[in-house]
């Protein structure tokens, strides 16, 4: 979609991107800035930035780009000018980086990595990603608190990534 947009600058594609992301941007704005009308203004401002940005530079991940820009704009709006990262560095953000390093990995290696996690993390990740169970179901089965389940999954994901990267390095060195 981004490539097509870059080539043709098609309005339909921009409209589609707007359809997919505007409500998320609005939601993030709502989180950091409670004023609804301000949030609407911010959404249009961010899309104006997007249209200018896409004509000059490349965007690899729309999710990351929009998230970082939205947060920056929200903080700027609140006169709290601490920025998470510079716009040009958005490609190095969390999601993109994770995805880039964890491409083309088989399910077996992932399963092996999961088995090396702590038991709570292991259980939660298996139930959540492999058995497609909701937080409530996991909570009922494991009697963990939902907040804990979330943190187990979150930490489990981070550890899983580290384990998988180590495995990849090992296979490369061998």
């Amino acid at each position: 979609m981004l490539l097509e947009l870059k080539k043709s600058n098609n309005r339909k594609i921009i409209a589609e991107i707007y359809r997919r992301y505007s409500h998320l941007i609005f939601g993030v704005c709502l989180k950091f800035n409670n004023n609804k009308s301000n949030c609407k203004d911010l959404v249009s401002k961010i899309f104006e930035k997007f249209i200018v940005f896409i004509s000059n530079k490349e965007i690899n991940s729309l999710n990351s780009w929009f998230y970082i820009v939205t947060r920056n704009e929200c903080f700027a709006e609140n006169k709290n000018k601490i920025k998470f990262s510079d716009l040009t560095e958005y490609n190095l953000s969390y999601e993109n980086k994770e995805k880039n390093t964890l491409n083309n990995i088989s399910d077996n290696t992932v399963n092996e990595a999961i088995s090396k996690l702590k038991p709570e993390q292991q259980i939660c990740i298996r139930l959540f990603y492999l058995e497609n169970k909701s937080y409530n179901q996991i909570s009922q089965e494991t009697e963990y608190d939902i907040k804990k389940i979330k943190s187990y999954i979150q930490n489990g994901k981070r550890n899983l990534k580290i384990i998988i990267e180590k495995q990849i390095e090992k296979t490369k060195s061998n």
Binding site: K12, H23, V28, Y67, F128, Y129, L160
Partner: protein
């Protein structure tokens, strides 16, 4: 989907998903899908938290979100312009004159054809009675045509007073027909009825290609007309159009003058200027029968600006057709003792000789 992609999938949440999740209308497996998206993407998670914290749902109309965005926008613009134009047309119609009616006829085609006038008896000029001479030229009126019901006669108070006054030399001015009952003025040295009191909003149009000769790339007029149909048109006010017609009349280009007057008549059915000068044009073209029809309209009109002239020229026209009628008209002119009375006497003498 690979397991690794599932764990690190960052697909954006849709509005519908957020709505359904917040309304708690999902099965556990569907909830899990959304929770995975929330877990995998901080963007999704923060947005979701924003909606939860403010206790609102993403609304459809918050943003322009439709795929057919351009279509909807253009369609809505189209509808608003149509509605606005209708309102404007209504307003202008109401402002002009309560007597205005709208006629959807009056489109002059390009082939030459002539329709005869049937009954020209009525005092009021009805729409059915007019002559429509279809022309080879591409001159045509604009689409929305209005015609005026017969214009209200303005009888100045001074005229009424004059009825009672008898001047010393025994000239009785009782005959209103000899006094102009409507404002007049002169254009290209010709007397005209001054309709400026009545707004005439619908301008007349002329195709540009009519002004020039056939362009070299076209074999004939017809081909040119078809190909350049919508290229350019010039819009004239009533006054300008009348002026050009009278100018043609002055220059003795009677055919062109008649063309212009017909355009005026096609939109302003009762326009006395066009009626009278059409009649004169036909008279000078020696087309006496047609000229008489136009003069009759001018004579029977409630506005008597051209009454004397029309009567005189009718007499001159009748001279070439029916001398008895001519004599009768001359006698009436003499009896009315108007501007042409002396001329009428001389003419009558000549005929009697």
């Amino acid at each position: 989907m690979k397991l690794i992609d599932k764990i690190y999938n960052t697909e954006p949440l849709s509005k519908r998903e957020i709505k359904l999740y917040l309304k708690d209308k999902l099965s556990d497996s569907d909830k899990n899908k959304i929770e995975q998206k929330l877990m995998n993407s901080k963007f999704n998670n923060d947005a979701f938290e924003g909606y939860v914290a403010n206790n609102i749902l993403p609304k459809k109309n918050n943003f322009l979100h439709n795929q057919n965005l351009n279509f909807i926008l253009s369609f809505s613009i189209l509808i608003t312009t149509i509605v606005l134009s209708f309102i404007l047309v209504d307003k202008t119609q109401n402002q002009v004159n309560p007597n205005i009616k709208i006629s959807q006829k009056n489109i002059i085609e390009q082939k030459q054809e002539t329709k005869e006038i049937l009954n020209i008896n009525n005092k009021q000029l009805s729409n059915n009675n007019k002559t429509v001479t279809k022309k080879t030229k591409t001159i045509k009126p604009i689409k929305n045509n209005k015609f005026y019901e017969y214009l209200p006669v303005i009888k100045p108070k001074t005229v009424k007073q004059l009825n009672k006054v008898k001047i010393k030399n025994n000239v009785n001015l009782t005959n209103i027909k000899l006094r102009s009952n409507f404002k007049t003025k002169y254009l290209v040295n010709l007397k005209i009825v001054d309709y400026s009191l009545f707004k005439r909003t619908n301008n007349l149009t002329k195709n540009n290609n009519d002004i020039w000769n056939v362009a070299p790339e076209f074999a004939n007029n017809y081909e040119q007309n078809i190909k350049t149909k919508n290229i350019k048109s010039i819009e004239y006010t009533y006054f300008d159009f009348l002026k050009s017609g009278l100018q043609e009349f002055n220059d003795k280009n009677y055919n062109n003058a008649i063309d212009d007057f017909e355009i005026i008549l096609s939109q302003y059915d009762n326009d006395l200027n066009a009626v009278f000068y059409s009649g004169l044009s036909y008279y000078f073209k020696n087309n006496y029968s047609k000229a008489i029809k136009y003069f009759n309209i001018a004579i029977n009109a409630d506005i008597n600006v051209f009454y004397q002239e029309a009567l005189w020229y009718k007499a001159l026209s009748e001279e070439n057709i029916d001398k008895q009628k001519c004599k009768q008209i001359l006698k009436t002119i003499i009896n009315e003792n108007g501007f042409y009375a002396e001329k009428a006497k001389q003419k009558l003498k000549k005929i009697n000789e």
